[in-house]
Symmetry: D2
């Protein structure tokens, strides 16, 4: 059962640039994370963009949707910045593709010792195999349907809508 | 949906003891790993034993089974050494409890930088929420039914039986 | 032989704040680093300020000087942002105190896996014990006199003046 | 000022082998540690052996001595297991070479997150530049003369003789 993994950037993949002293994007860490997880799933990784999700445009989200539609795989994981992850989930969810799509990300860059990224990647890759068609957000060990999830910005956690 | 997490030891929880220069068990790292994963699931952690799975006896496996049976929760994760994880899975599977039980572990101790533990814990906690009743092994990003899994000792990965 | 360690902030101590998604200062990591290094030196740690060295003012540098002068210890390490470390070194050096003062910092925050901070702290604490009175910058495994050091901003390394 | 770095193994360089579940030696981590420390010293690394220092023989120690004597460099760091580091220090010290030789090691393997290795390497490389000819042990942030140091095996720290 092949899995497609689309990279869009987000905190997940931010790196500290020691010359500028800023957090920015270089290459994705996902391949290294799959190695660390001794992952033996047939995962096809593709980088769609490398952006902070606060700067993701409608056109960017359409590009993600288009790629999910065009992918040969029925099971898709999308790494995404947490700030607008639920917005992209809504765009993907409204399209009702006959696929299982799981968005995930990280609160802390993978390159930091204290990152939740590896835990979340293991979680997303598992939910995508086990859940029926639909669009989901996998964060905090939980899985939310695309139309019943918000990011609580004060606590930095994902929750169901009230 | 409450989840019970039983600790039995294994590579997962081995620590380097700097006085003796040996790998041994002190406290479990699971609570720290749940924090790192920003896990917001209602997980109840209980340590059943702290053993190398090569030294796990039949009585030990019966104790694990007993605790799975007695647990109030329907969803249970068991951390376990990889060497005899499939043996314990068979004992649990043969009991046909009306529960979803997922065993997981690590090829490298969590305390090592290169551990797969956090990835596997995220994976096991996700499969246990999404899968129907049954007993499973979650390793290498994959999930195996208890009666169709072996550890390939040469490669250090889990596979279906031929 | 007691050692005084003054904290002023800098990349060394920056932390990723997962709510704001920014690098900022919380508590210093120095105590944790001393523990990690199994350091058994009598080190007295004092936080003077927690600032990005690009924002350090003349008054801030005078405060560092004042504290070096007033310290009971003859051997002093100062953690400092790398961008203006040589400026502060010049202020301290010009004062010609009868003390050995070593400034150090990090190119990458300690909280990142890829930080040079622990290496540099081990280096600074060693030079401060072994060198005669004077003011020095310890970076890249090397030690520079306060009046013969510049930061090469393109390469991100410290060098002697030409 | 060129520095020679001789590797002899020890806890410093032990790696967890995930197939056997044992700590053993593969390649040295020293090159990676020098990169992490952004070290810009002219260091020439040479692996003499890769042994647990409890298994180091008299012939092994003579080999270390021979290499120190033959090295073109006047400044030499030797990485060594902590258990018999002081024995090797005595062999080197008794030879009274016109060189500065610093032995160091680690209480916890570098590959473990909690290792003191990077701190100790930064420390040893600094002491070797700053100290006069002689043989020293650099551990715990301190530097001991070869004839005034013992390992306190209960506490896991190095101390002067009484």
């Amino acid at each position: 059962m092949g899995i497609r993994l689309f990279i869009t950037g987000g905190t997940f993949d931010k790196t500290y640039d020691e010359i500028s002293g800023r957090l920015l994007f270089k290459d994705t860490h996902v391949q290294e994370m799959l190695r660390l997880g001794r992952c033996r799933l047939p995962v096809e990784v593709r980088t769609l963009m490398m952006v902070d999700s606060l700067e993701m445009t409608d056109a960017d989200r359409q590009l993600v949707l288009q790629n999910c539609r065009a992918a040969a795989e029925e099971r898709i994981v999308v790494t995404h910045g947490t700030d607008t992850m639920t917005d992209t989930a809504r765009v993907l969810g409204a399209a009702s593709l006959p696929k299982t799509i799981v968005l995930t990300g990280a609160m802390v860059p993978y390159a930091f010792g204290s990152s939740d990224g590896l835990f979340n990647l293991g979680s997303a890759l598992s939910f995508v195999q086990a859940l029926p068609h639909g669009v989901y957000v996998a964060m905090n060990g939980r899985c939310f349907a695309w139309d019943d999830v918000v990011k609580n910005r004060e606590l930095g956690v994902f929750e169901p809508r009230r």
